[in-house]
């Protein structure tokens, strides 16, 4: 099963490489990864998605905690949460297809953020599944280039993750 794991870590050089190294070393898979400083500039927040059964996720969390710079870890998938991912996708758009792409973008509540003679660049955000669905709807043969930010997530309600 897919899990979204959020990690708060000390905003120090080398901390990120330890997290990434851990996954390689322990043969865990990282499907996506995003990292940036938080409102507390001494802390970074990292969100990663990975696959695994419960015992594997438990091991991943325990091993993350072994890293000295890791302050807090939470498996967001374990409770009610919101996830978002940003995608920028450059789509071939010539002739009649232009209108079609525009319409699909509207349906998905995306925006066309760059226009050229034979291509549109579409910006879309939402849960990863929605982004996948957009690409399927457009048809992957129409995609010239695609970039996704990786998943970010946050728990619903008043629950917070802080140092």
């Amino acid at each position: 099963m897919r899990h979204i794991i959020a990690v708060l870590l000390e905003n120090e050089p080398g901390a990120l490489s330890r997290v990434v190294g851990l996954f390689a070393q322990r043969n865990y898979n990282i499907a996506s990864l995003t990292v940036a400083p938080t409102e507390d500039e001494t802390l970074s927040r990292l969100t990663l998605t990975t696959e695994g059964d419960d015992s594997k996720i438990e091991q991943i969390i325990k091993h993350l905690y072994r890293l000295i710079e890791v302050v807090k870890v939470v498996d967001l998938s374990g409770s009610d949460h919101v996830e978002r991912e940003l995608m920028l996708v450059k789509v071939r758009a010539v002739g009649g297809v232009r209108e079609e792409v525009k319409r699909t973008t509207d349906i998905f509540r995306g925006q066309i953020i760059d226009v050229s003679v034979d291509a549109y660049t579409v910006q879309l955000s939402g849960p990863s599944r929605k982004l996948d669905a957009f690409v399927r709807a457009i048809g992957s043969e129409m995609v010239l280039e695609l970039v996704r930010s990786g998943v970010s997530g946050i728990a619903r309600g008043v629950k917070v993750l802080n140092g």
Binding site: E10, G14, R18, G21, K62, Y65, R66, I68, V71, G163
Partner: protein, 595 residues
Amino acid sequence: MKREESNTAETLSGGDMLIRALQDAGVTCIFGYPGGAALHIYDAIFRQQKVEHILVRHEQAATHMADGYARSTGKPGVVLVTSGPGATNAITGIATAYMDSVPLVVISGQVPTEVLGTDAFQETDMVGVSRPVVKHSFLIRDCREIPQVISKAFHIATTGRPGPVVVDIPKDVTDPGVTAPYSYTRKVSMRSYNPAVRGNGRQIRKAVGALLEARRAIIYAGGGVILGNGAEPLTRFAKVLGVPVTNTLMGLGGFPGDDPQFIGMLGMHGTYEANMAMHHADAILAVGARFDDRVTNNPAKFCPDAKVIHIDVDPASISKIIKADIPIVGQVASVLIDMERALAAEMEKRDAPDPAVLEQWWQQIHAWREAHGLDHDLQPVADQRILPQLAVQTLFRVTEGDAYITSDVGQHQMFAAQYYRFAKPRRWINSGGLGTMGFGLPAAMGVQFAHPDAVVACVTGEGSFMMNMQELSTCLQYALPIKIVNLNNQALGMVKQWQDMQYGGRHSQSTYSDSLPDFKTLVEAFGHVGFKVEDGADLEPVMREAFSANFKNKLVFIDVWVDPDEHVYPMSIKGGSLRDMYLNKITTSQQGDYM
């Protein structure tokens, strides 16, 4: 005298700060080897007396010495190396310490900050190269960081599950021309690092209940008992409970090897009775052990009837291989002391353990031991090659079981573990996790530095010994009276054994009998004393001589030519359970040994 925490705003260079911080951390002895990037630090060492520097002959050996020092004292070992090749040479020793959770602080010189990342002369990304084999690492950017980083390094290395910490210091940071105020505090607080101490009370009571309800309980104690100074509470707890105790390779000495409740080491080369008892147990108390694959054999077939209670300071060790029914996270000694109390309270409440049930369990274990236990009373046989097991037994007798024994990796290591019955913790020092050949001699040196008056012996094999024998020169320089017992089977014996058992006897690259040095002459060339023993009748007299007052201050090397065809048994059968063992070259336990 207790050193005051220095808070005076003294102004020091980075090099002086580093050595001063080591002093303030209580360090008296470091193992190292100089080079360009570390020269400012070496100059600071020259200008003081409090920290003694031991000059090794190879950086790998420096890390093993610090490791032996740490394992035998419980204090952190400290290493100093230069950048590039000095740093990479230290990696094997760092990895060795990491696998066995040994507290080390390894300081490496680095190229100056302004050329970092330019492939400068002798530049290696030490933090990167060492990352998978350290507990933590630091790259210092400014000399003002030195006191705090050193304080943190020692705190991290020695607390929780101990381990090696690397501190990489660019040369400009130790520049004698740049000074800053120095102040050191031992107290460290880190929001992201707070290792557990006390175990959960409810879990502890549950564990005690499970042990009292069991009919066939066993204690499986690992290296964590030794690292966590838990040998005494463990022994007391086991005595009250009355159940058998087995130790892992790393745990030997954590429970007295001469105690009637001790049933030997378990695992791949564990005793028959220990492996059988584990397999048939209905409750296992695992203490500071990590269910290593050399212990469990096939995890799917591991101890099918057992309820598993697992005490460990590292939550990540729990349920990693074998699911724990009752996990207890905490420091081994603290948890065991709480468990002792809970046990006493519980035993008052109920009529347990039932002596008759316990007696039945012991009868079964004695029957197993009778059938296939180790023979601790071998005798030399005229006109026959010396058995390596006999050599270890003789060493045990001659040293009255009270020596510090280090070892290398191979058959000799397993014979030492099986036949030298360790009565005390920190006496058996070997590379269990990484299995590093070349560990034994430098580790023995570290032990001898820490315990100048103790009897320190290294049980090695000729293959392993040749991996770090350059240190014989260091031994002369510092007059280390180590005794080396070389179980010379003229082969990479353990490799050869596997080839005998699994590769149709094809000895691919495991023999070299036509090209071995004459070890007696070799050690004499290094200024030490050598003996060669080929006849079993000479074994005990030569050993007595080597350990006598005549050689109290000398390193003595005893080259014992042992039977090259001997195998280590029992040996677990790959893919099987713990009860599946080869017992000798022709019998396995599966051929009807269930009683």
